[in-house]
Amino acid sequence: MKNLFDPDLITHSLLKKQLERSGSFNESERWPYFLKQIDMAYCESDRERRITEHTMEVMSEEIMEINQGLMAQTNELLRSQERYLLVAKAASDGLWDWDLKTNRIYYSSRWWEMLNLVDKEQDSSIEDWFSRIHHEDVHSVHEHINHHILGGSTRLEVECRIKTNSSQYIWVLIRGLAARDEKGKAVRLAGSQTDITLKKKQDEALYKAAFHDELTGLANRALFMNRLEQVILRKRRLGEKRAALMFVDLDRFKYINDTMGHEYGDEVLKLVASVLKSHTRPTDTVARLGGDEFTVIFDPIDDIEEAKFVAQRIITQLNRMYELAGREIYVSSSIGLTMIDHVQKSPETILRNADLAMYEAKSRGKSRLEIFDQHQYDRLLEKMELTADLRQGKKRNQFEVFYQPIIDMETGAVTCFEALMRWLHPKYGYVSPAKFIPLAEETGLIGTLGQWVLDKVIVQMHAWCDVITPQKCPSISVNISVKQLMDDMFYKKVLQTLDVLGQKRRLIRLEVTESVIMADPKLIIERLKSIHELGVILSIDDFGTGYSSLSYLHNYPFDLIKIDQSFIATMLTDHKSERLVASLIKLSQDLGLKTVAEGIETEGQCKALHALGCTYGQGYLFSEALPPVEASHIVFQGHRYTINPYDEDISLLS
């Protein structure tokens, strides 16, 4: 037994240790202790085995489960891959998938097809792509990709030109999205490539249509204004050399259109466009604003001299005889020129300046070049302001009617008042009728102003007649121009107004001014006769000046001739004037017409006119134009002026 407990015979370290420990017990205890140790060792061993078995079982179950999950994922992946392949095949877009870690890239077969290339069917290099991108676009593509990779954009979207196998460029839209790791670093970039060449062409055509003149192919007004703005901005910001704007308007283009037809007119416009285009530099902009208006921006230009030189050269080339569609045609144009420099001006102002200069060229006889002149413009501006004020003045009651007495040269009685308009301008004070009447005529405001004066005069006349009898009431003369008479509305209104006056019509006189050649003398004669038949007295104003002729005295229904004050002013010093006045008075007497001398300022003039037999007189010698209150005073008091041909003094009798 002792030998049995010799640990040296045992190899297993646990059994060895158990034997060693059992050896220290006495014989009766040794066996039970030893067996107990063995029993525990078996139990522990079984427990370990159980744990091991259970662990193996659970692990294998878990692995099975994971395996099933993986298989399901694999199947889903396979289906998704099939789906992807089908979609990729069907899609008209090329697809790409770029592994940023390995820098390898996959392109779908459609991608290769799009570029007329044979599908490599294997991983390709990014260079297959980038080397084909147009050199002007490649920088932008790189920038967009880097921006997206660094998280600067939510998706990649960039357009570029890419070279096909046949060395032609097509436009493509590249779209993509980066896949990122948990730290947000892009590890993969995938997306599509769409052929947008057709769309680009359509866009281009649309752009061309939107910004180009269909007939001539030149820039249209919208593009021109945009270019002009760009040029102005550049001059201002970069202090570049100056530029110049030329405004070209064809002379008599309407005539060409009217006589030769619009189609021929269009051909002329095309011809002009081609001449302008061929005599300008690529940096210049030639545009057609509409109709027969063309503009050219010369950019850059040193100074006005260079601009003039260039513009003059174009005029020489443009204004000449052409052979067009089997006909000879002389093209002539008027040109306005203005500089574009760093001085702050809007595109609209610069265009207007060139336009104004062009108008100046027209008014100076056409077929010439005019440079924009600021002073000339300032005068025009003043005129425009005054015109605007004129409209306002009418609305704001800035006008008044004053009355200047017209005296019977025999009796000194006031037989008539000339109604004269006064404009009290809020800034300039009284503005002379000589200044505003032409403006009113030009702007067409004369119609309403004339009507207003007539109404005012009639009210005044009624007021006087209410106090004194109409028989004693002096008449009132109102100035009307031939231009007003030509206006149908005005004429009808006057007829209507006079018509309702009844017998009092004779208290109204119309003084007709003639400052332009009558376009339609027949119509004027007809209208004057109609007014005259109502019993209204007609006089011809400022006779002897302007366009008035002796034939008027014969053909027109005038009762009175007003001799222009310029003759009166010089009649005492200039023998010819004196003779002219004398002849006029004599002629009128022979024709049975009465005469009114205007602008009598001295007693000498008065005496002389009296001696010559002038019927009526008017001027500062007697009275200036008076406000209604003062005129009324004269009317009501029945004042008379002394006309003493023998006496030195002429004074107002009370």
Binding site: S13, L14, K17, A41, T52, V58, M59
Partner: protein
């Protein structure tokens, strides 16, 4: 050498703190957290006086000829899938792979789960930071479980985002680990030496009577001129095998051998 209270201290933080003030490339740091045989009542540490609870002692060995060898081995094998710690706070683990950690753990224990947390010794966890590589793994043992939270508290930190795998130990391999540790910590031949053996109490509970083999087989390696002292601990401190950075280990046998060069 760090000897610390085993109950009222976070061993991981203690080790980090010590390393913070010592140049670990020059000084070998080993040690352990005192145990109380599984009672978890009080653990005592003393220096120049009676041992007390809530104490940490540090011993430094220096001299021109002194040599210190350290071996640390657990003998545990990883098994099952690699999992990701998806929710944890300090030394409390809540979720792995987005699922509660406790049920998974119980499934592996089977009937042994009834004996939790004691039986948790059978399945410690290997944890490692993927960035530092798989070789940087350390062992973590369960201290307690929380059925309401379905969570488990470990003897050291279980950082969120680290990887983990279950481990199990076959008795033979666990015993063999002490042999491995002894081989690394062995003194020069025929040189008198002292080995301080610190082994996890968990190993003792798991191995039962076979625990005697652990010391027995290690002694054979360490030789006749070697003297051995040691204790069963609640945590072991030794340099990590690869990084050489001192760390808190669990379920490990640490042998520190002191001897003088000739």
């Amino acid at each position: 050498m760090i000897l610390s209270d085993g109950l009222f201290i976070n061993g991981s933080e203690l080790t980090k703190g010590v390393c913070h003030s010592i140049d670990t490339s020059e000084v070998t740091v080993t040690g352990g957290l005192a145990g109380d045989g599984g009672v978890f009542d009080e653990t005592l540490v003393g220096l120049n006086g009676p041992p007390q609870s809530r104490q940490v002692a540090a011993l430094g060995f220096y001299g021109h000829n002194i040599q210190i060898n350290t071996g640390s081995e657990g003998g545990w094998d990883e098994f099952g899938p690699k999992r990701l710690i998806t929710r944890s706070e300090g030394n409390v683990l809540y979720e792995v792979d987005g699922k509660p950690a406790l049920p998974l753990y119980k499934m592996y224990l089977g009937e042994e789960a009834k004996g939790l947390p004691g039986t948790a010794l059978c399945f410690p966890l290997a944890i490692w930071n993927e960035d530092q590589g798989k070789d940087s793994w350390v062992i973590r043992t369960i201290q307690s479980i929380n059925e309401t939270e379905q969570s488990m508290q470990f003897s050291g930190d279980v950082p969120q985002g680290w990887n983990t795998r279950l481990m199990w130990g076959k008795f033979d391999k666990i015993i063999d680990a002490s042999v491995e540790a002894a081989r690394v910590a062995e003194a020069a031949p025929d040189t008198p030496s002292l080995s301080i053996m610190i082994s996890c109490l968990g190993r003792k509970i798991l191995l039962g009577q076979r625990i005697i083999q652990e010391v027995y087989l290690a002694s054979k390696i360490l030789g006749e001129k070697n003297q051995r002292i040691g204790f069963y601990s609640y945590g072991e401190i030794a340099p990590q095998r690869v990084s050489k950075i001192p760390m808190l280990h669990n379920q490990t046998m640490i042998i520190t051998t002191l001897f003088e060069k000739n």
